[in-house]
Symmetry: C2
Subunit: 175 residues, 2 copies
C-alpha cells in the first residue's frame, strides 16, 4: 500500500511547541489527536529513534528522583524545515486527508502558524486537479463496478473540497 502516512511530522509538530520526552509526547498526542490518529508508545519511541538518526531531533538524558530517567527530545533546524515543508505541502491522497490534514489543522491552531490560507488553497487546488482528471469519463463503456468506483472517487473528492472551503472560512478569521 503506497498510501503511507508520515507520523514523524506529527511528532516534529509536537516538538515545535518545545522539548519533550517520549512519554509526554504520547500523552500530548493522545489528548489532542487520538480522535483521528493513533500512535502507540512503542511506535513513538521507534520513530524518535529513527528521527534522531536522521538528524531531525536530538535527545538529552535527564536524571530524575523517584521516577525513571527521561530522555528529552528537541527539534533541530533540519527538523523544523522538514516540518514546515510538510505542513505547507498538500496531502496527495484523499484517503489520508482525514488524518494528515487534520493533523495540519491542529498544528496551525497550536503553533499559530501564519499563511494558513496557503495550506487550504494548495490543498483545494490539488484536489480540484484530481477532480478535473476524473471528470471526463470519455463516454467509454463502463460496467456497474467501474461506474461505482468512478462515482466514489468523484463523491469523496467533491466532499473533501467542499469541506476544505468551509474550514477555510473559519480558520481564515484567525490565521
Amino acid at each position: 500500500m503506497s498510501f503511507k502516512l508520515s507520523p514523524e511530522y506529527a511528532l516534529l509538530g509536537i516538538l515545535m511547541t518545545g522539548p519533550k520526552h517520549g512519554y509526554e509526547m504520547h500523552s500530548y498526542f493522545s489528548s489532542n489527536m487520538d480522535q483521528f490518529w493513533r500512535l502507540s508508545m512503542s511506535q513513538i519511541y521507534a520513530l524518535l529513534k529513527r528521527m534522531e538518526k536522521n538528524k531531525m531531533v536530538v535527545s538529552k538524558g535527564e536524571w530524575q528522583n523517584n521516577r525513571p530517567a527521561k530522555k528529552i527530545f528537541s527539534i533541530t533546524q533540519t527538523g523544523k524545515e522538514g516540518f514546515l515543508n510538510w505542513i505547507y505541502s498538500p496531502v496527495n491522497h484523499v484517503r489520508n486527508l482525514r488524518i494528515e490534514f487534520m493533523a495540519k489543522l491542529f498544528f496551525i491552531k497550536e503553533l499559530k502558524l501564519k499563511r494558513a490560507t496557503d495550506i487550504f488553497d494548495k490543498q483545494i487546488e490539488i484536489l480540484q486537479e484530481k477532480l478535473h482528471l476524473l471528470q471526463p469519463p470519455k463516454e467509454k463503456i463502463m460496467d456497474e463496478f467501474q461506474k461505482a468506483l468512478h462515482s466514489f472517487k468523484i463523491a469523496q473528492t467533491t466532499s473533501a473540497i467542499e469541506w476544505l472551503k468551509e474550514c477555510k472560512t473559519f480558520f481564515s478569521c484567525k490565521y
Copy 2:
C-alpha cells in the same frame, strides 16, 4: 492504527472463481483491483502461507516443463464461509470503505452474488448510525479545530451514504 484492512478476504474472493497459483492471483488482483487496492507479490505469498495455516486454503504443487513449478491454491469450505461472512458484513470505518467496499462490489459482480441489496442496506444502516451519533453537537463550545474535525466526519459519512444509495440502484438491476 486500528483500521486494518483484511486482504485475506480479497484473496479468498479470487479463489472463489477457481483454483489459482500465487503469481496468477497477483495478475488477477493487479488487473482488476489495482485502482484501489495494492498488494505486492510477497504480500500475497505471505498471506497465502498464513491462510493455509489457518485452513482457509489448501495448496498442491504442480511441476511444469520450461517454467518454474506452480503452487496451486484452492479455497476450503472454511475459507468460503469466511469469505461470505466478510462480504455480507458492513465495513466499519469510512476510511476503509474505499478499499474494502469496492472489493466487495467487485466480487458481487464477478461471482454474480445474490442478495447484493443486503450488503448495501447493511452498509447504509451502519453509516447512518454513525451519522446519527455524530449529529448532536451538544452545543458545546468547539474551537475551529474541533469544528473542522466534526464537520469532516459528517461530510465524508454523508457523502458515502449518498454514494451507496446511488450504487445500490444500478447494482440492484442485476443482483
